[in-house]
Amino acid sequence: MKKIFQKTKNNHKIKPSIPLQDNENVVGYTFIAPWLIGFFIFTVYPILYSFYLSFTDYNILSSPKFIGLENYKEMFVSDPLYWKSVKATFYYVFTAVPLRLIFALIVALLLCRETKGIGIYRSALYIPSLIGGSVAVAVMWRRIFEAEGILNSTLALFGIESNIAWLGHPTYTIWTIIILGAWQFGSPMLIFLSGLKQIPNTYYESAVIDGAGWFKRFFHITLPLLTPIIFFNLVMQLISGFMIFTQGLIITGGGPLNTTLFYALYLYRNAFQFGKMGYGCAMAWVMLVVIGLFTLVLFKTSKYWVHYEAEEG
């Protein structure tokens, strides 16, 4: 290969009439142009404009009025709903994300074996994740937890009389959405599964010879070797968890008593229903900073708990 390469190089020197070498810079920017143009128009400019708007009072009909830090002050000091939305969102993220990941890992462990029908189970268990984010499922989810919904009438079959209005209860309601979140375990499950399959069987075989039981093997081989994948799943799920929106809007409408008024939902209402675009932008920027901080902390602490095989030799 090298020889051929040198030959063509020489040829090129002797006969400059051979088709011109591509200018890699021109070619490269031509190919990435669609993304680059979009990046400036739909990402960079909006981010900067959003930052500016966060210091203004703006309702899209009249021009933005600069008000300094007023939006941020209102948010942190005088808007009780803001803090309710922060609380609801953190509550959701810190319950639904761990539940979803633990669930995904358990199911992946169940699926990690060679028998007939495993493909069918895998597909079936991915379906909730496939459709779980849709409006159709959110609409159906309401029907499950309504006072006369599936849950209560199924409980009645087992002799448990329950008249609890799951969607009208300040403590239980958010859990209907958390369960929906945990139910969509399909994607992290598949990622865990591909990670599990990459762990060499010899590790387990030698552990068995050394007399390690199931628990020892899980905590000393499986879990450490999966940490890069756990880390990846955690970052991705955390980010999408903070953005929970559709379910809050359709299943509960933010209620009861604003216990499911998620951050993204409250932001949407401020910007597009109350005409407070500047306030919405300020909320969005705080969200960006918080998500950024969480991601940063995860990355910084990852060296203490994420094992990369290369390091271990």
Partner: protein, 280 residues
């Protein structure tokens, strides 16, 4: 010994089947309830299989609301998902090739920028984008939803790049010796070989657009422009006590395209999720 293995295998399958059934129960309930007479749906909510089968819900639900029926909503969803997917696929393949196979100045910098945008919450750019499209007078048209898809999706670029990296560079070099330019290599060597990645991108992109709720919610406020997701939301809001059957029937119909595509292309999907960690 053999007997024992067989026995544990049977237990395993029983557990898995029960577990799958439990996990899919809500979906099955929705499907079967959509064939129950409207007044039976909640009265017999504890039963999965209808006592009396009827397609009445599909007929009444299809009529829609506000004088617009569900064929319009379906058409809109297909329009948005279809054209949007074409835009995403075409632009993402181009960008992926640029990043994966061309060594240009600033490549690493732009690539980092692209990866960072994957973590950007949509809420930060949503409001200025809305203002921008409002000023262009694009609100209440599909343009704000479709035009941005032609600027490539970072997730898909990443997915296709991973795939291109698996193609031996010797193929590029051989083509180059034969007088192919970088453009020629793209069209004659890379493009035919990345078909599996293109299929995966197409499917995911279609799903995401089919399920997209926030975009249509912001930009489409006229009933004749509604996509399925918005139509179901409005149907749900307006059906305070009346047509549950119709609502469940239309909800069932709305998830059928996703399920059909999934069962046809599931190997591509599983592969795509496993290699990039894309969410479904």
């Amino acid at each position: 010994m053999k007997e024992k293995i067989k026995f544990s295998n049977i237990i395993y399958h029983i557990i898995m089947i029960l577990f799958c059934f439990l996990m899919l129960y809500p979906v099955l309930w929705m499907f079967f309830s959509s064939f129950k007479p409207n007044e039976d749906i909640f009265a017999t909510a504890h039963k999965l299989i209808p006592d009396k089968w009827t397609i009445e819900n599909y007929i009444s639900g299809w009529k829609g609301f506000g004088g617009v029926s569900f064929d319009v909503f379906f058409k809109n969803s297909f329009l948005y998902s279809g054209i949007g997917t074409i835009g995403t696929v075409v632009s993402s393949v181009l960008v992926a090739y640029g990043f994966a196979r061309v060594k240009f100045k600033g490549r690493d910098f732009w690539f980092t920028c692209m990866i960072l945008t994957m973590m950007l919450p949509v809420q930060v750019v949503m409001i200025p984008q809305f203002i921008m499209f409002h000023k262009l007078d694009w609100v209440n048209s599909f343009k704000p939803l479709i035009v941005p898809t032609f600027t490539a999706g970072p997730f898909f670029v990443f997915l296709i790049m991973q795939f291109i990296r698996g193609i031996p560079i010797e193929l590029d070099e051989a083509a180059k010796i034969d007088g192919c330019s970088k453009y020629g290599i793209f069209f004659r060597v890379i493009l035919p070989l990345v078909t599996p990645a293109i299929v995966t991108t197409t499917i995911f992109s279609f799903y995401w657009k089919w399920d997209d709720f926030l975009g249509p919610l912001l930009y489409l406020s006229k009933p004749r422009l509604y996509t399925m997701s918005i139509a179901l939301k409005v149907f749900n809001d307006s059906t305070t006590t009346t047509n549950w059957g119709g609502l469940l029937a239309m909800s069932t119909l709305s998830i059928i395209p996703a399920l059909v595509i999934f069962f046809i292309f599931q190997d591509y999907l599983v592969e795509g999720i496993a290699t990039t960690g894309i969410k479904g």
